[in-house]
């Protein structure tokens, strides 16, 4: 099977400091395989090396060591670039071009011309929800609209592999949902999507596989359900129409938080099935408001991971 992305010992050192340059390892021996058709979540806290990895894959920076391939060809190859799309983090385009002109130019780089080009640009702008404002200069666009234009330009060439660096950032909840739908649509079309995020919820809803990067090192990679850190470790039960003496009698007060008038949140451990507690409570006249699994958030996971890692400078070799 052809891999969509393969990195081998990919390492990047940056020189930091103004007078005496010393190397700083932004990425340390990353070896990663991403199969075609995967929606791959590349997760990690800010500064973990996600953007560095994406820049190396786009050959915006050159690796200190190691190699990277896309679709079986070395990165930077023009034929490879023809088949991929890329949305940078916080994208920015020209101030005085319109969205239409910008996308038209990019489409031209892929050899689209004439009516086909106009159709391609029109369809994509519709898809990302840019209306008549597509004829305005981009400097009049809000951050969220620029993000949408960025998505459109990443898809202009009907790419086989799409790289999205923090695609949700700068979007309102509605926009985030649209992007999620877009990614799922790309998946359904059989494309590979490689996206970075520091928000677990994004990954949960979309990814077939994830990798977690902390401090430039790959911590774990696999399907989300395989990653033990994210297993359900309990339940949160919210009920209403119940009184404290009832809860006290059931021995739940230790784990209960009062969140409103006759409204309580109860945390239950994983080995205590919520069905039983719920049925006991409903007998007393309580009503179920919500029942949610409790997982480690990505942040919790990061905090745990980072605390076990040395400060970056001491990891530098040579």
């Amino acid at each position: 099977m052809t891999l969509a992305i393969r990195t081998t010992d990919l390492t990047k050192d940056y020189a930091v400091g103004f007078w005496r340059k010393r190397p700083y390892r932004a990425l340390d021996q990353l070896s990663l395989d991403v199969g075609t058709g995967d929606v791959f979540g590349f997760l990690g806290p800010n500064g973990a090396g996600k953007t560095t990895t994406l820049k190396l894959l786009m050959q915006l920076t050159f690796p200190t060591r190691g190699r990277a391939e896309i679709l079986g060809r070395p990165v930077g190859d023009v034929d490879v670039k023809r088949r991929i799309g890329y949305l940078p983090e916080h994208p920015y385009f020209y101030d005085y071009l319109t969205a239409e002109e910008l996308l038209g130019g990019f489409a031209g780089m892929f050899g689209y011309r004439g009516a086909e080009r106009a159709r391609r640009v029109g369809t994509l702008l519709d898809e990302v929800g840019i209306g008549p404002e597509r004829r305005l200069a981009l400097r009049k666009f809000s951050k969220g609209m620029i993000q949408r234009v960025g998505l459109a330009q990443a898809l202009i060439n009907d790419p086989e592999v799409v790289f999205l660096d923090e695609p949700m950032s700068g979007l309102d909840p509605l926009g985030r949902r649209e992007v999620r739908r877009l990614i799922l649509r790309l998946r359904d079309q059989g494309r590979t999507v490689f996206f970075s995020s520091h928000i677990l919820a994004d990954a949960e809803a979309l990814c077939s596989r994830v990798a977690i990067l902390v401090g430039g090192r790959l911590r774990t990679v696999g399907s989300l359900s395989d990653i033990t850190a994210f297993h359900v470790r309990g339940w949160e039960l919210v009920v209403s129409g119940v009184e404290e003496p009832v809860l006290m009698r059931m021995g739940l007060m230790q784990r209960t938080t009062r969140i409103g008038e006759e409204r309580y949140a109860i945390e239950l451990p994983i080995d205590e099935p919520p069905d039983k507690v719920l049925s006991d409570l409903t007998v007393t006249g309580a009503r179920l408001v919500s029942l949610n699994p409790i997982r480690d958030t990505l942040e919790d996971f990061f905090v745990r991971q980072v605390s076990g890692v040395d400060p970056p400078e001491s990891r530098v070799k040579g």
């Binding site: 940056y14 820049k55 786009m58 050959q59 915006l60 920076t61 050159f62 023009v78 034929d79 670039k81 023809r82 991929i84 799309g85 890329y86 949305l87 940078p88 916080h90 994208p91 920015y92 385009f93 020209y94 101030d95 005085y96 071009l97 002109e101 130019g105 990019f106 031209g108 780089m109 892929f110 050899g111 200069a137 960025g150 330009q153 990443a154 060439n157 790289f163």
Partner: protein, 271 residues
């Protein structure tokens, strides 16, 4: 095929950006300057209005062009890097040197349009002055008003602008706009004093210093060589040989600077 296509797209975007950024407004200023001066001169000076309009017109074509070349040139690449707009472009099927070539061509195109319009305006004003001037006074002119020889000076000004643009772009590939502006202005001024370096032995006794100065004469862009405004206005000959060698020198120097710019740019990390 693909190369020329992507270069043209990048170039055209530069042109569009600069037009919408009101760069060509300088043309209006130029026209007003020319017309106002020609009207005023008739009242202020005795004779030689045509010479003064030629001096002013050619100097303005060069000066405005230099300002555009430097102030847009220094931002051509560094601004894209600073604002990260370069990220989405370089992910497209374009090689880095093609990007540089496109950026350069775009600004040269802007300058070409600018110089062409200014030249036409200058010829129109001169043509009008010639038309309204009495025959016997025209005999006192060194050269006819709408003198085709002025095109020689304009052509060399344009090649000089191309060179200045290449230098600005070169600095733009690895330093900030402010530093690029300082470097480019420095080279522009040094390039005009350049002719003095060649005969430095007349100024200093030291043979070493004279040879060093002579070395610099060949290293620095010799911009003074592109200035034949005075010769043209006074109807002095500018030979085809001089013109040819100077233009060839300009193009080779531009090729050298652009190649260096591409080299640096193609190795650069975008952090």
């Amino acid at each position: 095929m693909r190369t020329s296509r992507v270069v043209a797209i990048v170039a055209f975007n530069v042109f569009k950006e600069s037009v919408r950024d009101k760069v060509l407004y300088n043309l209006v200023f130029f026209a007003v300057l020319l017309i106002a001066t020609s009207l005023l001169l008739g009242k202020l000076t005795a004779g030689q209005e045509v010479k003064i309009i030629k001096d002013l017109g050619l100097a303005a074509i060069s000066l405005f062009g230099v300002f555009i070349a430097i102030f847009i040139g220094i931002g051509l690449v560094s601004k894209e890097v600073e604002r990260r707009s370069i990220y989405s472009i370089l992910a497209k099927p374009i090689r880095r040197h093609e990007f540089i070539l496109g950026k350069y061509s775009g600004l040269v195109l802007t300058l070409l349009v600018n110089v062409a319009i200014m030249s036409i305006a200058l010829y129109l004003v001169l043509g009008y002055m010639s038309w309204t001037e009495a025959e016997e006074f025209k005999r006192a002119w060194d050269a006819p008003a709408a003198d085709p020889a002025m095109l020689k000076a304009i052509a060399l000004i344009f090649v000089e602008l191309m060179l200045v643009t290449a230098v600005a772009l070169f600095f733009s590939t690895f330093s900030s706009p402010i530093l690029s502006a300082v470097f480019t202005f420095g080279l522009f001024i040094a390039g005009h004093f350049n002719a003095d370096l060649k005969h430095f032995e007349g100024v200093v006794d030291s043979r070493v210093a004279a040879s060093v100065a002579r070395g610099w004469y060949y290293v620095l862009p010799n911009l003074a060589a592109f200035d034949v405004k005075a010769q043209v206005v006074h109807a002095q000959p500018v030979t085809a040989g001089y013109l040819g060698f100077t233009v060839a020198y300009g193009f080779v120097y531009i090729a050298m600077v652009l190649l260096a710019a591409m080299w640096i740019f193609s190795r650069r990390d975008f952090k």
